[in-house]
Symmetry: C2
Subunit: 321 residues, 2 copies
């Protein structure tokens, strides 16, 4: 018996990630294309699709899609369904890619001159540098719409109940009381001294909401108890915050080449961060505390297969870029 | 018996519009608010909500919401449901407002300096002039997300089947093979000589897709035959194109004060229009032909109550601003 199939004791996050990443990349490649968007009378313009593909493909750690797929696997294990390395349900793959499109659009808009005015992203020229500002704006707008297109295929493959639930979770996480709201707070906070509570609130919206939604959208691909749902909510909240704490630490400790984006920008822009507030050492302790909270939440979820979620939390907190 | 209730012969578009407009305005006022977006831990930032409200409230002819409500009324009449002037189903009101949020966000982004760089909209300063570019960008992004939030309430008021169908229609109409795609073609067309076919294709996406989606989302609020659905598709396509032909004519014939936006911009920017292609007179004839197509489509729909849809088509083509 293959070690990957034989049981949870031998779970290998590297193997799991590689297999699932490949499926995500293939799905994004297929769905973010001129063909997919073309209808009978001729569809999306090639230039727009090119900017969208540039923003989405061949880059990114795909943390959010992997969280969706890991949570979907945990949720499906609750109902006795056993996923293996060779299949991923269509609904989970669509949810994974939809979240990534929202993340990608937010980066495109965030990099624009009127926002962070960044020219480097994942080691490449940002979308507006490559395609112009107007095209970057439209590509971001179209990516957000495409996320909801992915969640609502016009066939019977995904029950209406799941389509509606996934749109609901994603819309809330992306909007004014989620990611966009957090970015607005971020915008208003430059040069302002925030309390730790305010800083947590900003990041809970700006990055936490979409990370947590990734977990809950995965859960919505299965049928989990309310106890498990609550536990996954806690897990999502903890890793969402931990992600930002580590991000702030890396902005100080890593260089631009490692990060694939401009390092040291927070301090340059006089933005409040967990490092500026807590100092580097205490920020590191805080990140480990949040990791412990996330793992404890998984333990009380009652879900049989949470190894991928555990591994992703550990990787997220202990990452070096 | 009240004339409004007694039958179709006495239908009065002015009365119908006034009643339905009021409901749309009240619903937008209620839904685009800090309260609505606030959750237990504190939600959307006030500044972002202020920019979103500025973009949406107290302005606009609400053509798209009225199309949704008119089509919903026609669709419901097919199943023998009789709507009166005092009630509008929740699902239709949500669909109407969702479409308007997409329209409003598109205007905010369209007015940005990197796009049309317009300072006047509906006789008021544009959102970026009032709130700054970054806030305008985020407000537009958040409005798009909020549209999908409106369509996916977390209760049993709207069946999952309708929630999914409405999200599907709206996402396609807003995205790369709809509105955003049309704007990208528009962007690339400045100073380029388009054929009539290419011009139609551009506008079919840029403005037509969302107008047609308004009609089809209304239809999705009821249960219509495929014959009626096809007829409404044709109606939506015809008025979508007619809207743009008339828009191009008004850009030449009306002044900025009447339009509430800068007139004569198309010619200044050397953009291809139906007037530059056909001349003013033939453009007018074309608009009337499209109106006749729209009315013929309604006649073959088999739906009992299409008076509001008829009236809106006539108003749209014969408007002076």
């Amino acid at each position: 018996m293959d070690a990957r199939v034989s049981g949870r004791a031998t779970f290998d996050l590297g193997v799991w990630s590689a297999a699932h990443l490949q499926r995500v990349e293939q799905a994004l490649e297929r769905w973010v294309s001129a063909d997919a968007a073309t209808d009978a009378e001729g569809g999306a313009p090639a230039e727009l699709i090119a900017a969208m593909r540039y923003a989405v493909l061949d880059g990114g750690k795909r943390l959010r899609p992997l969280l969706v797929l890991a949570a979907a696997q945990a949720a499906q294990s609750a109902s006795g369904e056993r996923s293996d390395a060779t299949s991923t349900p269509e609904v989970a793959l669509r949810a994974a890619c939809a979240v990534e499109l929202i993340h990608a659009y937010s980066l495109v808009h965030d990099d624009l001159p009127c926002m962070d005015n960044d020219v480097l992203r994942r080691g490449k020229a940002t979308v507006h540098v490559k395609f112009g500002e107007a095209s970057a704006l439209l590509a971001g707008d179209a990516l957000q719409a495409m996320a909801f297109e992915l969640l609502t295929p016009d066939d019977d493959a995904i029950p209406d109940r799941q389509q509606a639930a996934l749109c609901r979770l994603l819309a809330r996480a992306a909007g004014s009381s989620g990611m966009a709201g957090g970015q607005a707070i971020d915008l208003a906070s430059v040069g302002v001294a925030l309390t730790e509570r305010q800083l947590r609130q900003m990041h809970r919206l700006k990055t936490g909401a979409l990370l947590q939604a990734s977990v809950m959208m995965g859960a919505a691909c299965g049928d989990v108890s309310s106890q498990a749902k609550d536990a996954l909510m806690s897990y999502g909240a903890a890793i969402g915050l931990a992600f930002q704490v580590v991000d702030d630490m890396l902005d100080v400790t890593a260089d631009s080449a490692t990060l694939g984006k401009t390092a040291g920008k927070d301090a340059d822009q006089d933005k409040p961060t967990f490092v500026s507030l807590l100092g580097l050492e205490r920020a590191g302790v805080y990140a480990q505390e949040l990791l412990a909270q996330a793992l404890a939440a998984l333990a009380r979820s009652g879900l049989p297969e949470t190894q991928a979620l555990q591994g992703l939390a550990q990787r997220l907190v202990n990452r070096s870029c």
